[in-house]
């Protein structure tokens, strides 16, 4: 019995690879398993290699797994790209329609040629070769075509019952072909009980419903991989909730619209990725100085410039923390799993309103475009309150023009806000430095007061967790990460614990305000700090050095190929660092 199952389908883009993966993944989820996915794709519509990996586990994981047990290949390229990932005892199922097929010599892998295209043709249409392949998979892992029926009914039910049945029939043919010609199987681990509150959801979908739960009712966005899906969900949901989506002409317009909507009193967001985020830099400063709430979701991808639009990276740390000229208060959140993507995005709207400043929520392609399991979301925790608005009663008590939108005496620097429509609450939001009422000025003393007022707002901020730690007290080796790599790191950590290494795992959830107090004790206690991140310059490690110190302790594991991390590559580095610690002791 295998601990978990790694399954992958590959072929040319536009061949239905994505939907094959979706059907397999959702079906396994509905059987009670925890499912994590990873889509490999390219920035083109037809042709080019694409594959979808599905990992089936009995516990919730934040990684699609190193190991591959079953590979479904619709073309030669899939074999060439992925065969090496198969474990001993794994299965390659390939379509005999592939011309002059070449399969690497490996007697430890089960080679399963199946006439996928021919069987599908026989069943009614070559389109259904995907179903035939799922049928063959089902035979290997001890499932039946009926286990996929509910997903097929949801997908094709609206096209008529016979569409569902013909797909099931094609699946059955694939199943029968395997049973009639082959015998080897993989036993799936025992099924966990499916809890009805569990969700199978991508990071981008979690961003969308998090924003909706946080009260966002206006989205202005320009399409960009890998953030576009955020729009789709809003286009579907906002009309039912009294909100609207505007497809902007570019990311500058998108962010300026979002600022305009927030100024008017509608909770609003924009979502983007690197190139769009770069275009938003000037506006970020405007939101900061005008004290207008703003939520930007940055679904990071590999840069610089256009970079690798379909590949993942965590290289926007500097831009998120320091981008835009001048100095503004800002909050930068780095959710570490899809559940946190939901909660952090939701909370971003309350924080932006409370502190009247920009909030950046950083996800990435790896988390955003892939689907993960969420255990549950508690509806009772979702209530939002409007914050820091002046009441009409208060405004009525003032003389005309007396309202101080940017009152420097306000507690914690957070002054009351008004929105258009409120009598006697008039002010002008602006990117120019201004006085307390909101009049442009260049008077030095007032300038300093306004700068200090804004900076004060986030002093002592602890509304969102800064970092979490697991491990022994005073662990010698400290693994550090932020954002989506946390899930992989947890597996690395568990392996090291199993091997008896004195190790701790510190995972950062917030880059600004930087959680110095949350991380410093662990860094100070550790002998070596291994920072793992998906960029080439160690952007997080540089922050740790700046905010915490301990420069001689740091080691980095950096990956910037565009591919997500593998457990084994981080583990190898961690073991090296652990071994160097031992050596130091014996010396």
């Amino acid at each position: 019995m295998s601990k978990d199952l790694g399954w992958k389908v590959g072929g040319a883009q536009g061949e239905g690879i994505e939907s094959t993966g979706d059907i397999f993944a959702l079906s396994l989820f509905r059987l009670g398993y925890y499912v994590s996915t990873y889509r490999h794709f390219m920035s083109l519509i037809k042709g080019g290699h694409t594959n979808g990996k599905v990992r089936v586990t009995t516990e919730n994981k934040g990684h699609h797994g190193d190991d591959l047990h079953i590979l479904l290949a619709f073309d030669q390229e899939t074999i060439n790209f992925n065969f090496h990932e198969l474990v001993d005892g794994g299965f390659l199922i390939y379509d005999t329609a592939i011309k002059n097929v070449e399969v690497p010599e490996n007697d430890k892998v089960n080679i399963v040629p199946v006439p996928l295209t021919d069987i599908a043709k026989e069943a009614g249409s070559t389109i259904m070769k995907n179903m035939v392949s799922i049928g063959a998979t089902a035979a290997i892992i001890g499932l039946t075509p009926d286990d996929f029926r509910s997903v097929l009914t949801d997908r094709f039910g609206s096209k008529g019952g016979d569409v569902v049945e013909s797909n099931i029939a094609a699946m059955q043919k694939g199943y029968d072909f395997y049973k009639n010609n082959f015998t080897n199987t993989i036993e799936l681990p025992a099924r966990p009980v499916l809890k009805p509150e569990r969700l199978f959801i991508s990071g981008n979908e979690a961003t969308s419903i998090g924003a909706i739960a946080g009260g966002a009712r206006f989205l202005s966005q320009y399409p960009i991989t890998p953030a576009t899906e955020v729009m789709y969900q809003m286009v579907k949901q906002f009309p039912k909730l009294g909100g609207a989506v505007v497809q902007a002409e570019d990311e500058i317009a998108a962010v300026m619209m979002s600022i305009g909507a927030n100024y008017t009193g509608a909770r609003s967001l924009t979502a983007t990725s690197g190139p769009g985020f770069s275009l938003m830099m000037e506006a970020l400063g405007l939101a900061g100085i005008s004290e207008t709430p703003l939520v930007i979701v940055d679904v990071m991808r590999a840069g610089p410039s256009t970079g690798l639009p379909t590949k993942t990276e965590q290289s926007d740390v500097f831009t998120m923390m320091y981008g835009s000229h001048g100095e503004i208060p800002r909050i930068v959140l780095t959710p570490r799993n899809v559940e946190e993507v939901f909660y952090f995005t939701k909370e971003a709207f309350n924080l932006a309103e409370k502190y009247q400043c920009p909030v950046i929520v950083a996800t990435d392609l790896f988390m955003g475009m892939n689907k993960w399991t969420v255990e549950s979301i508690d509806f009772d925790k979702l209530h939002n309150e409007r914050q820091n608005f002046a009441t009409q009663e208060y405004l009525d008590s003032l003389e005309k023009g007396e309202f101080k939108r940017f009152d420097v005496t306000a507690e914690n620097g957070i002054s009351l806000r008004t929105i258009p429509g409120m009598k006697n609450g008039r002010f002008v939001a602006m990117g120019n430095e201004h006085d307390e009422v909101g009049v442009e000025m260049e008077e030095t003393e007032l300038r300093v007061k306004q700068m200090d007022k804004r900076a004060k707002k986030l002093v002592g901020f602890d509304d969102i967790v800064g970092a979490t730690y697991e491990g022994a007290e005073n662990a010698e080796l400290l693994l550090v990460d932020f954002g989506s790599t946390s899930g992989i790191q947890r597996e690395v950590y568990e392996e090291l614990v199993a091997e008896g290494v004195s190790v701790g795992h510190l995972s950062i959830a917030r880059l600004l305000p930087f959680p110095t107090a949350d991380v410093a004790p662990y860094i100070n206690a550790a002998k070596k700090v291994l920072v793992t991140e998906l960029n080439s310059t160690g952007q997080l490690a540089q922050q740790l050095k700046q905010f915490v110190g301990g420069h001689d302790k740091y080691e980095s594991f950096l990956k910037y190929s565009g591919d997500p991390l593998l457990v084994r590559e981080v583990l190898a580095k961690a073991k090296d660092v652990a071994a160097s610690l031992k050596k130091e002791v014996t010396l």
Binding site: F218, G242, V246, G260, L286, L382, P420, M430
Partner: protein, 287 residues
């Protein structure tokens, strides 16, 4: 009811004689004439001398970024359709750095009024070539005279689907007030391009120059302002030296009415909390 005084705010610090004084006065008069309350109006401006108008207007204001008044104004209107929204700026702001937004806001037909104080020069940065500078204009950045074709905002607006295209002149407060008022009443995007002389840095496009050359189509009973092609022809024939309501199309629906999915209640009034039923439906798609 609000009076003209309610639409006054900070005292303007434009150069004495600047055309923008008249534009501000016309905007204030138009708002008062329409019976607006200052809190129900928002003036969004860009950067430049003209961008300061949001601070001088007694409505709510947003003095935004250079070239970006239109996306802000778009969202203000869409977030609260009960508001009257005016965007304002200069020729550099709107037709240079902000040109992209200009075309797209008109295509979308957002129900806002866009006032452009066109002085054919960059004033606040002390006299560089602007997108509307005539060919041959000598400036600090084009000492031998500009060779760039000037943009033609009126024709562009008509081609981009703007349903209210007007041109005013700072020497005629009465007509300008009427044009702005008409623009604010128009349901959809309205453009009022205004020849607003820069008395400090533009010695060509002066009050005298306009007084000599401008013709007023509002005084021409035979002019058909509903005819797109006639409007473009007239604009071309006069080399853009004309004032009045040049093109008017009352048939197009503004964005928030044309989009059937757009909420009928202002978005700012939407509940920021979900009820259990909505929540249940929202997450059902992920099971």
């Amino acid at each position: 009811m609000a009076t003209l005084a309610d639409f006054r705010a900070e005292k303007p610090n434009w150069c004495p004689g600047c055309g923008d004084f008249t534009v501000l006065a016309a905007l204030q008069k138009a708002a008062a004439n329409m019976g607006l309350e200052p809190e129900d109006m928002v003036t969004v401006s860009g950067i430049g001398c003209s961008g300061k108008i949001s601070q001088y207007m007694g409505s709510y204001g947003f003095h935004s970024l250079h070239g970006r008044s239109l996306p802000v104004a778009t969202a203000v209107k869409l977030s609260n359709t009960d508001l009257t929204v005016v965007a304002a700026g200069g020729d550099g702001d709107g037709y240079g750095i902000g040109m992209g937004h200009f075309v797209h806001a008109m295509r979308r037909n957002i129900d806002i009024t866009y006032i452009v104080m066109d002085n054919h020069i960059y004033g606040l940065t002390t006299g560089q070539t602007s997108p509307t500078s005539d060919k041959g204009t000598k400036t600090k950045t084009a000492p031998d005279g500009s060779t760039d074709e000037p943009v033609h905002p009126l024709q562009m607006a008509i081609m981009a689907g703007c349903g209210y295209v007007a041109q005013g002149y700072s020497g005629n407060l009465k007509q300008l007030t009427e044009l702005i008022e008409g623009g604010m009443k128009h349901k959809g995007f309205s453009l009022i391009n205004i020849y607003s002389p820069c008395v400090t840095f533009n010695k060509v496009n002066t009050y005298d120059f306009y007084k000599q050359h401008l013709i007023n189509v509002d005084e021409d009973a035979s002019y058909d302002k509903t005819d797109r092609f006639a409007a473009i022809k007239k604009i071309e024939e006069t080399e853009e030296l004309l004032t009045g309501l040049l093109y008017h199309n009352t048939e197009k629906l503004p964005y928030h009415e044309a989009n059937t999915a757009f909420p009928t209640t202002p978005i700012v009034k939407a509940d920021i909390n979900l009820n259990q039923e909505n929540w249940g439906k929202l997450i059902a798609q992920f099971k």
